[in-house]
C-alpha cells in the first residue's frame, strides 16, 4: 500500500487555504439564503444501509456506489444522493414533526465515475427539501430559493431549464413496454438522440402516444414550447402537467425571471422519484449542471410517511470556483503580530498573545528557541510586527 500513501483516491481532492475559504464563503452564502427562507439544518451519516437507495423509485446501480459491510455483514453505502436519506429522516426521527417541514443540508455525495475521465467521485451538495407541501406555491418558492442561492454566490449569468416528469410519464404510460425499454427510452430522450429514439419507437410499435414521445427531444425553448406540446397530444394527465408548468412560468415572469428560464420537456430526470416539475440550472464556465431539483410526491410514502415534497441541490464546487475567479476571496494575509517569549518568559508571552487576540489581532506564537530565528521567520512570512517578552518586559518592533 506504500505507493498510495501520498495521494488521494481517484475522483477526490484536498482543499487548502483559499480553496477552503471559497467553499466556506459559498456555503455561508447558501446557508444565509436557506435560513432566510425558513429552512432548518439536518445532517445524516456518510454511511447508510443500501436499502435506503435500493427501491423502486431510485435506480442506483451497484457499480456506481462505494460500499462496505458493517460488523454484521449488512451492506452499507457511502450516500450517492441526499434526498433519499432526508426522506428517511423525515419519516423516522422527524415523523411527529409538523408539516410542512423545511430542511437544508450541506453534504457530500459519493459516486463512482468513469476512470480517468476527470470527474469527481466526491462532491458537496447544498440543498433544501420542502416536505408536506403541494402545488404551485411550494414549487415557486423552491425555484425562487434556487435562484437566490445562485445569486448569493455571485452568479449573474445563469439559465434554468424546467421540465415535468408527469408529461413524460403520461406519454410513456400509453405504451406498454418493459422496464428495460423504458430505461432506454429515457436515455434517448435525455440525450436528445432523435435517431435512436426513432429506432426504439419503431421497435416498440406505433401504438399509444409515440408521436408526442418522438417530439420530446426537440420540445425545448421558451414559453411557446408549452403550446407546441399541447397541440401534440390530448391526454388529460399530459395537459395537467403542461398547465402546471404554464402557471409556474407566469409566476416566474411576474418575478422577472423569464429571461433566465427555459422550458425543456425532454428533461426526463434519470432519478425516478420525481413526479412533478423538474429543473436543472447552468452557469457559464461549468460544463455540467450546477443545480438540480424537482417535485417528488410519492417518495416519502415509501418510507411510511406519505407526503408531497419538493427540493433542489446546488453543486458547491463550481460556485466556489466562481468566487475564486471573480477575486472575491482575498489572498490569505499573514498574521499581524508574532509573539516571542525568551527562556523563562514563555507563559508571560502567551498571556500577552491572548491579550492581543482579545483586541482582535491575529497572532502567531513563535515556537523558536532564539529571537533571531523568530525574526527571520516573521520576515519570511511577512508578519509586520514582532513582540518580545523577556527580562526587560515587553518590547514591540517592526519586522
Amino acid at each position: 500500500m506504500r505507493q498510495y500513501a501520498k495521494i488521494t483516491p481517484e475522483g477526490t481532492k484536498d482543499y487548502v487555504f483559499e480553496e477552503c475559504e471559497a467553499r466556506g464563503a459559498a456555503q455561508a452564502a447558501l446557508t444565509g439564503v436557506f435560513e432566510s427562507h425558513g429552512y432548518a439544518p439536518v445532517m445524516t451519516p456518510y454511511l447508510e444501509y443500501y436499502d435506503v437507495f435500493h427501491r423502486p423509485s431510485a435506480d442506483w446501480l451497484t457499480e456506481k456506489l462505494y460500499s462496505v459491510t458493517d460488523s454484521r455483514g449488512r451492506l452499507l453505502v457511502m450516500r450517492p444522493d441526499n434526498t433519499l436519506p432526508i426522506a428517511r429522516v423525515a419519516s423516522a426521527r422527524l415523523q411527529y414533526e409538523d408539516m410542512p417541514m423545511r430542511l437544508y443540508y450541506h453534504q457530500s455525495v459519493f459516486r463512482r465515475s468513469r476512470f480517468y475521465a476527470g470527474h469527481s467521485d466526491e462532491y458537496l451538495q447544498c440543498g433544501v427539501e420542502l416536505l408536506g407541501a403541494q402545488g404551485l406555491r411550494a414549487d415557486l418558492e423552491i425555484l425562487q430559493c434556487a435562484v437566490d442561492a445562485l445569486r448569493a454566490c455571485g452568479v449573474r449569468n445563469f439559465r434554468v431549464e424546467l421540465g415535468h416528469a408527469g408529461f413524460f410519464k403520461a406519454l410513456a404510460d400509453t405504451v406498454s413496454m418493459s422496464e428495460d425499454l423504458r430505461a432506454e427510452l429515457i436515455q434517448c430522450i435525455e440525450s436528445k438522440n432523435c435517431p435512436a429514439l426513432e429506432e426504439l419507437l419503431c421497435r416498440i410499435g406505433n401504438t399509444g402516444e409515440t408521436g408526442a414521445l418522438r417530439a420530446l427531444p426537440r420540445l425545448f425553448g421558451g414559453e411557446e414550447t408549452l403550446k407546441q406540446a399541447r397541440a401534440l397530444c390530448g391526454l388529460p394527465a399530459a395537459h395537467e402537467a403542461l398547465d402546471s408548468l404554464a402557471a409556474l412560468y407566469d409566476c416566474l415572469r411576474a418575478l422577472d425571471l423569464q429571461e433566465h428560464v427555459d422550458i425543456d420537456l425532454g428533461l426526463v430526470h434519470g432519478q425516478r422519484y420525481y413526479t412533478g416539475f423538474v429543473f436543472r440550472g447552468y452557469i457559464e464556465g461549468s460544463g455540467i449542471s450546477v443545480l438540480s431539483g424537482g417535485r417528488y410526491d410519492a417518495l416519502l410514502a415509501e418510507f411510511g410517511r406519505p407526503a408531497a415534497a419538493v427540493g433542489f441541490a446546488v453543486a458547491l464546487e463550481p460556485l466556489a470556483e466562481l468566487l475564486l475567479e471573480q477575486g472575491k476571496i482575498p489572498k490569505r494575509a499573514p498574521a499581524e503580530v508574532m509573539v516571542f517569549g525568551a527562556a523563562g518568559f514563555e507563559a508571560a508571552a502567551l498571556k500577552h498573545l491572548r491579550g492581543l487576540n482579545e483586541q482582535g489581532l491575529r497572532c502567531e506564537y513563535a515556537p523558536f528557541e532564539s529571537l533571531e530565528q523568530a525574526a527571520q521567520y516573521a520576515k519570511r512570512k511577512g508578519i509586520p510586527r514582532l513582540d518580545v517578552m523577556d527580562a526587560h518586559g515587553l518590547s514591540q518592533s517592526a519586522v
Binding site: 436528445k192 447552468y282 461549468s286
Partner: protein
C-alpha cells in the same frame, strides 16, 4: 463570450466533416492548411482536431461546445451530453465475427471474445444474459481467433473484406455506426440560439 468551439475527430471523419462545413459556406482554409496549430479559426468558430475519445471528453466537460464523433466511440466511452444529429457519413457497423464454419453459440464451453471495444462487447452479451470473457486487444483484432486466443471478435465492419480475408465471417450485427454531432448540455442551454442555428445548417447540408 468566447467563440463556439467545435471538436472534430481526426482521420476517418475529418475530410467529410470539413466538406460539410464548406458546403454550409464556412471558410475552411485554415482547417485544410493547419500546419502545427491545434486551435483553428473557421469564420466565427474555433475548431480543434482530436482523437475520437478525446472529442467526447472535451465536449463532456464543456471545453468544446460541439463535437463530431463516430457512434462507435460514443457507444464505448459516451455518457453525459446531447447526441443531436446523425450526419449519415462514416457509415459502418459493429459486428460479432468468428472463424468461418465455427458455431459460436454451440455447446456450453466458456466463450472468449476479443475486441477493441470491450464495453460494447460486454454489453452485447449482457443483454443476452450470456457470460463471456472479453479480452481487450489494441491492434488487429482479427488475429486473436486465428491465434486461438479468442473464439470470436467484436469489431467495426465496413465492407467486411478484412474479416473475409482472414477466414472469419460475421455471425451477428450489433449496431449501425455513423458520424454524430454531440453537444455539451450546459452550452446547449446557455448558447441555445447560436448552437441551434449551427445544427440546423448542418442538418440541411447533410440532406443535400
Amino acid at each position: 463570450m468566447r467563440p463556439i468551439r467545435i471538436a472534430l475527430t481526426k482521420g476517418r471523419l475529418e475530410k467529410r466533416s470539413v466538406e460539410l462545413f464548406e458546403s454550409i459556406g464556412f471558410d475552411c482554409a485554415q482547417l485544410i492548411n493547419k500546419g502545427r496549430r491545434l486551435i483553428l479559426p473557421m469564420d466565427d468558430y474555433q475548431v480543434v482536431l482530436a482523437k475520437a475519445a478525446d472529442v467526447i471528453t472535451y465536449v463532456e466537460h464543456g471545453a468544446c461546445d460541439i463535437g463530431i464523433v463516430g457512434k462507435d466511440t460514443i457507444a464505448e466511452a459516451g455518457s453525459a451530453f446531447y447526441e443531436m444529429l446523425d450526419l449519415g457519413f462514416g457509415k459502418c457497423r459493429f459486428a460479432l465475427a468468428a472463424l468461418k464454419g465455427s458455431d459460436f453459440y454451440d455447446g456450453y464451453h466458456e466463450r472468449v471474445v476479443a475486441s477493441k471495444y470491450p464495453k460494447v462487447a460486454k454489453q452485447f452479451f449482457e443483454k443476452k444474459g450470456m457470460d463471456v470473457r472479453v479480452i481487450k486487444i489494441e491492434g488487429s483484432v482479427e488475429l486473436a481467433p486465428l491465434l486461438g486466443l479468442a473464439h470470436a471478435i467484436v469489431d467495426i465492419v465496413e465492407t467486411g473484406s478484412t474479416i473475409r480475408e482472414n477466414g472469419l465471417e460475421v455471425i451477428e450485427e450489433i449496431m449501425p455506426i455513423s458520424a454524430r454531432v454531440i453537444v455539451n448540455r450546459a452550452s446547449m442551454k446557455l448558447r441555445r440560439e447560436e448552437i441551434e442555428q449551427l445544427l440546423k445548417d448542418m442538418e440541411i447540408a447533410v440532406q443535400v
